[in-house]
Amino acid sequence: MKAREISSMFKQLFGRSSPSRSYTNKSNPTAAELSVQHLYPLVQDNLEAIKQALHHASDLVIRSFSVGPSQTPCATASIDGLVDTAQINEQLLKPMMHSFDYLISSAEEMCSVLEEQVLSTYQVKRIATLDDAIYNILSGNTVLFIDESTDAIAVTTIGWKSRAIEEPQTESIIRGPRAGFTEDLRTNTAMLRRRLKEPNLVLDDYQIGRRGKRDVVIAYIVGIVHPNLVKEITKRVLSIDIDDIEGSGFLEHWIADSFLSPFPLILNTERPDRVSGSLLQGRVAILVDGDPFALILPITFSSSLQSPEDYYQHWMISTLTRLLRLGAAFIATFLPALYIALLEYHHGMIPSKLAFSIAGAREGVPFPAVIEAFAMEITLELLREAGLRLPKPIGQTIGIVGGLVIGEAAVAAGMVSPVMVIVVAITAISSFALPSYSFAISLRMMRFGIMLAAAFFGLFGIILAYIMINVHIVNLMCCGIPYSTPFAPLLKQEWKDLVLRAPTIFLKKRPKMVKPQNTDRMKKENDPS
């Protein structure tokens, strides 16, 4: 059965509801389904209710006071550590307690006076329900309750510690911006805004997760992106119904078209420049609060072999680099399998001189090439994993120990042949040369399958495995786009920015495969000047 059918069955089985919503509807999706418990008239009742709802949390700070000549009882509630206390003191408590001298006749008037004249913070909003109040408190706002009022006021006082903007760890480049996303959603959206002063850049905010209520932003540019694409992606994101999406990875796996495919169907990136570039191509980005990785979709097979740096370097260099990466992807997937096939089945294909030196090197090695290759590849994966997990200073030791012990000692002991060490090393280097980590992982995984195929059937097995990968790719869809675009279906125009990266002045059009509504990114005349 097709992977897609299975995944659709799976989705139906677990009851993914698919609320049909317009992609411009920005109302809070969870607010509608909350039980509507309105606020109590008395401050004391509200405070009690909140304390109860939060189980008398130790970090819940409640400050009761009375305001103005009429001595109206008020109280603020907030979570310690999430808020900026100096801001609360200066802009909320001080003006209310010291300089409030308006004569107020009703609670409603009190609210509007507070909103319009007293509270000097830059964002305030009215809330009417208890759940809304609790949500605001938990997201770092301060909620101000006023006696006899039907509404409370939520004041934005977010002030938690967040990491500074740093260089992306997973996608370092030589030339180009060095800023990477952080865990803070607002910082990330601000970084996008700073790159694109485009009024049509839309950032739709949703709270996803029953308990986590994590902020998720779907970003796109109106006028470029195809509306159906946004509609579909929004539908998929809103269909997530779980306690908490723990990060962008979870979201990615939930909304991807197929969960059986080893290939990344959604691109993840830490780079704002990559996101803004993709948005301008007519794609959609998803940012998740608490995760420095943004998701970009739809993508195709070739996206995983491109790096943002391709656009910053000279086009010849970029073209060569892309060719190199294509070769690297091939080597990383097939080289050990080819080694096995040639050694075990087709000795005749190796040129005689080389065959002699390989045979000489393999003299005394007790295992067949298959066992040798598997042992070395697994050792390499172990080394890589160990180096990742260990603290940085020890991680380097692992590299040295691994390199020396596995390389030198294993050869000296006659366990593996030096040729095998060369093959494994080239494979590892090639897989590190790929710009997308998740893509490199899937190639690494497939490598073992292909090695098995080579062990059973030699070259015939490798070509069958190659065909299977191809068949899998042509059957994959990513948000309605065949994953093999622009190779098949053939889109000639896209070949300008595929393996070849044509000079910038020739890249006049946005990629046709995502069906952008506005196709030109330069003025239309043929004269590039």
Partner: protein, 369 residues
């Protein structure tokens, strides 16, 4: 759950062109030079290929032209309207059987040649089964995927053929190509027969036309799709005669593959290039096989709408595999190939034309604009 598709799932004229070409290029081309060398003299086989090619192109053009008339309702519905339902059942079943046996033939052929060039000891059955399982994997995917697969593979096939032919040129002796025009008409005619058989496969346009966005472009696309393999066969044939000479060529079992053995690559990085050439050739035989299988399912399901895609595959797979293991030796296998070709010419090329005449007489509704 309906899958979101805002891209166009229909296939273009280019897709059909490539599909026809990649259906035709199978094991036939590998053997054609020898068949021609057996029946014609000197290098006169090229006349046969050209005549056969011209005939095939005309036939493909006509078939596609006819197919335009049922580009929406499909072949079976059209046939049923033209020559009554029972007859249509028989004709479509035969067509289905033709594709089924075509598929079996390709599987056996690939297993035979693989055994010759890649394995010595592995039994044919095991090789065929491995290949067939991968075929089933592709067929259980989407039909549009199969068409996309053709587009991915055809450049490699033409690329590797070009490499082999151009590196073989150093071994080519022009003397072997001369004299010209010495074969008799009857010899040329049997050459035409052999060439036509290796050019069969353009019938797929009858079925895949229903997926086309603009069916009226199909005739031209199909004709060009046939032209590509003709050019390829011509080039392979001439180089083969030049390299092996006509007399030796009669004894060479897979001339195109042997050509890769003879050629010399500068740098001597590879020896026995024929293994690599053949390994890549497997891909095109593979696409031919999956399309034959898919067409078989297509025709069956057009008659029996209740059968689902996957059960049809499970049902047909054992039959195909059994049929592919049926021929005992090389001779009976060659005979099987001949029977399939006769069946193909009869049921997939001539019959649709006759049906078209009936449909014209009875005024069957046409989908053409």
């Amino acid at each position: 759950m309906k899958y979101f598709e805002y891209g166009d799932p229909k296939v273009s004229a280019l897709d059909i062109c490539v599909t026809v070409a990649s259906m035709i290029i199978g094991v036939g081309v590998l053997n054609l030079p020898r068949e021609l060398a057996k029946v014609t003299k000197s290098s006169d086989g090229w006349i046969s290929i050209l005549i056969a090619g011209l005939l095939a192109m005309i036939a493909a053009f006509l078939l596609a032209k006819i197919a335009v008339h049922f580009s929406k309702q499909g072949y079976f519905a059209y046939t049923a309207a033209a020559v009554t339902k029972p007859v249509a059942y028989v004709i479509t079943l035969l067509l289905s059987f033709y594709f089924l046996s075509y598929c079996s033939y390709e599987i056996r052929a690939i297993a035979n040649i693989s055994k010759q060039y890649l394995f010595e000891r592995t039994p044919v059955e095991v090789i065929a089964l491995g290949f067939f399982l991968v075929v089933i994997y592709a067929v259980s995917g989407s039909r549009a995927g199969i068409i996309r697969l053709n587009l991915l593979t055809i450049p490699f096939i033409f690329g590797i053929t070009f490499v082999v032919l151009s590196f073989s040129l150093t071994k080519l002796s022009v003397v072997d190509l001369k004299p010209c025009f010495i074969s008799s008409i009857t010899e040329l005619a049997s050459g035409v027969k052999a060439s036509i058989f290796s050019l069969l496969g353009f019938e797929v346009v009858l079925l895949y036309i229903t997926m086309m966005h603009k069916p009226q472009l199909a005739p031209k696309a199909a004709a060009i799709g046939v032209a590509l393999p003709i050019i390829m066969s011509l080039a392979i044939y001439i180089v083969c005669v030049g390299v092996f000479s006509e007399f030796a060529l009669q004894e060479v079992s897979n001339p195109a593959v042997e050509l890769a053995k003879e050629m010399q690559i500068p740098g001597e990085f590879f020896e026995r290039f024929e293994s690599i050439f053949f390994t890549i050739w497997i891909v095109t035989v593979y696409t031919t096989t999956i399309m034959a299988f898919d067409c078989c399912i297509y025709t069956l399901r057009s008659m029996f709408k209740k059968i689902k895609h996957m059960p049809a595959i499970y049902m047909l797979s054992p039959i195909i595999f059994w049929l592919s293991m049926f021929p005992r030796d090389v001779n009976s296998f060659a005979k099987m190939g001949d029977y399939i070709s006769y069946l193909g010419v009869g049921i997939a090329v001539i019959t649709p034309m006759i049906i078209y005449l009936f449909a014209k007489i009875r005024g069957v509704k046409s989908d053409a604009l």
